[in-house]
């Protein structure tokens, strides 16, 4: 086992490579994921605050209008 970790004497070069790669990739992922969660929370709270002012009405009528606009 210690043979494995010493990597034929090159442990000081090989393990940092794998370690830093893992740290960078995981960090980027975690940062991205946290930004997503933060944005989702903010959006949810903003939509909740805005909700009463913007009742969703007549969905079908709006749907027709959208179709016309999208083809324009």
């Amino acid at each position: 086992m210690s043979d494995f970790f010493s990597m034929g004497g090159y442990a000081a070069f090989i393990w940092p490579c794998f370690g830093v790669t893992a740290v960078v990739l995981v960090a980027l992922l975690v940062i991205s994921q946290r930004r997503l969660s933060a944005s989702r929370r903010l959006l949810d709270s903003l939509e909740a605050a805005e909700g009463p002012r913007r009742p969703r009405r007549a969905q079908s009528a709006k749907n027709g209008e959208t179709a016309g606009e999208a083809q324009a």
Binding site: Q59, K62, N63, T66, E69, A70, A72
Partner: protein
């Protein structure tokens, strides 16, 4: 008889729909006055008409020909006066104007045209004054003199009367009237009351839309959440 028109214009700035479904039509000798609250898109519409800003949808046409087919030709038949006066501080009024007059109206007779334009607007005495000594109102008049110094059928004037006194406004009214008599057209946005006989008025507040994301709508639905009932909401200035 030239016709300048726009159909179903849609303008999106900074992810915000400034106006939508806007139509206008302007004929030789006509004037179109843009009104509406701050940020309703008066400046944006003028910039769309000038070709500085591309409409997200809809088309402009000149005599039935789409403007988008020949943007440089369109630029050649219009004058745009924006919020900035493009006066170089180190050049004299004359040098400033002669450059634009030559660029737009050809080299021949450019000096005379400039002198005449300055006289028309009552600033002939500023001819050799460097731009940095001019007041805001004088710079504005120099900018308007630029329009006079090279003839073009379409004038797009964005609040041309700011920083101007009553006399100067009257001088501009007179030049606009003269321009229209010669078959020119004017689109003008203004806060001050200007005397423009037989002008059409376009109220931009009618075309504003509620701000919404380019990715509008809720995640669980697949449709536009445009709210027509909110069309009368004043919109924010996009800058």
């Amino acid at each position: 008889m030239a016709v300048f028109s726009g159909e179903t214009l849609l303008c999106i700035r900074g992810e915000r729909t400034v106006f939508a479904d806007l139509d206008f039509r302007l004929e030789s000798g006509g004037a179109l006055v843009l009104v509406g609250p701050n940020g309703s898109g008066k400046s944006s519409l003028l910039r769309v008409m000038a070709g500085l800003l591309r409409a997200a949808d809809g088309a402009l046409s000149w005599d039935g020909e789409p403007v988008a087919d020949d943007p440089e030709g369109h630029a050649g038949r219009l004058h745009y006066v924006g919020h900035l006066d493009a006066v170089k501080p180190v050049m004299s009024v004359f040098e400033n104007l002669v450059f634009w007059a030559r660029l737009r109206g050809g080299t021949a007779g450019a000096e005379d045209r400039v002198a005449q334009a300055l006289a028309t607007l009552g600033i002939g005495h500023l001819l050799d004054v460097p731009g940095r000594y001019l007041s805001a109102g004088q710079k504005r008049r120099v900018n308007l003199a630029r329009v006079l110094a090279a003839p073009a059928p379409l004038w797009l004037l964005d609040e041309p009367t700011t920083a101007l006194d009553r006399d100067a406004i009257q001088a501009i009214e007179a030049t606009i009237a003269h321009h229209r008599q010669g078959g020119g057209m004017v689109v003008i946005s203004t806060h001050a009351d200007m005397d423009l006989p037989a002008a059409d008025v376009l109220d931009l507040a009618r075309f504003t839309r509620r701000p919404r994301s380019v990715f509008q709508g809720q995640e669980d639905e697949d449709m536009d959440d445009e709210d027509p009932d909110d069309a009368d909401m004043p919109a924010r200035e996009a800058g």
